[in-house]
């Protein structure tokens, strides 16, 4: 078994060999510019891009003309939010979003606020979910867009996308959904789910880094955007810049494989997660699943180990490549904004770890990982004055701590 064991599939995924193989010729042999209309090199590249566009569209139930290639989801979200706000300024200036969104949405929203936009940030419930009533209650006459993600990147919790889509349709409001974690992992159908704008990143679905797309609805309603990148008018004027042909070919292939293997991949990821959680819960007490236990991505398990601090836990599971729910490791002691938005206390937020399972995770890896987690948590709890106090029956909330 190769260590560290990769259990960070929400951060990125390895490139599938089938994808890598499909991309290879586009670096060295078929290197034309897809915008070159006057020779065979350009035509071959364009044909490949067209094929990728069809593969991407098929993954989410869209039409190929609705796919705008970008450098990834962050750019797609920037384009969608800024492009819509600029285009629909005469209609309104209000956006509804969630405090648990990715920074690509939150920071873009803050940027738009400085330009006069008004943004309502909704707090999810303790389960990480938003109710349709809560979203409906935040809508105003001048609301032009609702931006709610499909699946959260930290806790994997799924939002009621189809209901939000229906609500937005009724009210004539655009629905932007960050599909980065969801597409290729669970069924996504922009028609049935009523999504108007959706982003996907190749590297989350076993494709290459640095490429993704924005789905922009063409009918009912036709969504219009003001381009945020000016230049040669590529991508129907919505995103200028020479197309990253090898990347796009990889994205297309990754989308195709993800669509064909969706059920198999999802069942495998779920089996790995269940195996892991079962083993951990059998051995340890005071472990919490962050986010709704059922409505979450099959391959995501965000757990808090009470009375153990996250960074020391990461040190103890050094053979596992995982992410911590607190940003201690990046030298700022801020707990995750997602966990905070759900009302998870700082102590539990500090001790949370995200375990991500995917296409290439094996049972042996899961067992090894679970055992290392169990050993590290048990050891740190022997060291933990908090665990000792709880064993003695002390209610930690009644202790007069000397904060520093």
């Amino acid at each position: 078994m190769k260590t560290p064991i990769y259990l960070d599939y929400q951060a990125t995924t390895p490139c599938d060999p089938r994808v890598f193989e499909a991309m290879a010729p586009y670096f060295t042999e078929i290197y034309g510019n897809a915008a070159s209309r006057s020779h065979a090199y350009g035509w071959s590249a364009e044909t490949a891009v067209d094929e990728a566009r069809r593969q991407c569209a098929a993954l989410i139930g869209a039409h190929e003309k609705e796919i705008v290639f970008t450098s990834g989801s962050t750019e797609a979200l920037n384009l969608a939010m800024k492009g819509v706000v600029e285009m629909y300024a005469s209609k309104g200036k209000h956006i509804v979003t969630s405090l648990a969104e990715h920074k690509a949405v939150l920071d873009t929203a803050k940027h738009l606020e400085k330009q006069g936009c008004e943004v309502t940030y909704l707090a999810p419930g303790p389960d990480g979910r938003h109710s349709i009533e809560q979203i409906e209650g935040a809508l105003r006459d001048d609301t032009i867009m609702v931006a709610i993600m499909w699946a959260n990147n930290e806790i994997g919790v799924l939002q009621p996308v189809r209901e939000i889509g229906r609500l937005c349709k009724e009210r004539g409001i655009l629905f932007l959904c960050d599909g980065t974690q969801a597409a290729g992992k669970i069924p996504v159908d922009v028609e049935a789910d009523g999504v108007d704008l959706l982003c996907v990143s190749a590297h989350k679905i076993y494709g290459p880094k640095g490429v993704g797309f924005l789905y922009v609805r063409r009918k009912n309603p036709r969504v219009r955007l003001v381009a945020q990148m000016d230049g040669g008018g590529h991508e129907r004027g919505m995103r200028s810049g020479t197309l990253n042909v090898p990347g796009i070919v990889g994205l297309g292939k990754a989308a195709e494989v993800a669509r064909e293997d969706l059920e198999k991949d999802a069942a495998h990821s779920l089996a790995m997660r269940e195996r892991f959680e079962k083993r951990v819960f059998a051995a340890l007490d005071h472990v919490h699943i962050n986010g709704d236990e059922d409505e979450r991505l099959p391959g995501c398990s965000n757990l808090s180990f009470a009375y153990v601090e996250g960074e020391s836990l990461i040190m103890g599971i050094k053979d596992l490549a995982v992410s911590s729910g607190s940003a201690c490791t990046s030298a700022s002691l801020e707990p995750s904004h997602v966990l905070q938005s759900m009302g998870v206390g700082d102590e539990l937020a500090h001790s949370s770890i995200r375990f991500g399972f995917g296409r290439f995770t094996t049972e042996d890896e899961v067992d090894f990982a679970a055992d290392q987690v169990i050993a590290a948590v048990s050891k740190l709890r022997e060291l933990s004055p908090l665990y000792e106090m709880v064993q003695e029956g002390v209610d930690l909330s009644t202790v007069n701590w000397t904060g520093h």
Binding site: E309, S312, L383, L386, E388, T402, H404
Partner: protein, 130 residues
């Protein structure tokens, strides 16, 4: 983040982990920090005369916090109360090569020593005074 070898050594083989009887007359207990800050240290000393004959700790915190408190117990064993009170966080920082973002761990360890000594003194002063 890269940890120094000494931090890793204390993390992997913490010295003097455990608890002393906090109700005992010759034991001083210091608990500093707060769970929501991500660090809580409990440091206990057993005193004979004015000399620390045993020290134990338990720490909830990062590797540097665990190492700082583990080192603190090593250093104060055998010292007099005054000598223990003279230990500063900078010495801990130097010994463990702590980076700037982890200096608070050493401060907490110094505070824990002082809190334990202070608890011991309070306990014995009030007893002798009553």
């Amino acid at each position: 983040m890269a940890y120094s070898d000494k931090v890793l050594d204390h993390y992997n083989n913490p010295r003097n982990v455990g608890s002393l009887d906090k109700s005992s007359q010759d034991v001083g207990t210091g608990i500093v920090g707060a769970p929501e800050c991500g660090d809580v240290m409990k440091l206990q000393i057993q005193v004979e005369g004015d000399r620390i004959v045993d020290a134990k700790f338990k720490t909830f915190g990062c590797g540097s916090a665990i190492a700082s408190s583990s080192l603190a117990t090593e250093w104060i064993r055998g010292k007099t109360l005054d000598e223990a009170m003279a230990i500063t966080n900078t010495e801990i920082v130097q010994e463990l090569s702590l980076p700037p973002v982890k200096i608070h761990c050493s401060v907490l360890a110094e505070d824990a020593i002082k809190a334990a000594v202070s608890d011991f003194k309070t306990k014995n002063d009030s007893e002798s005074g009553s």
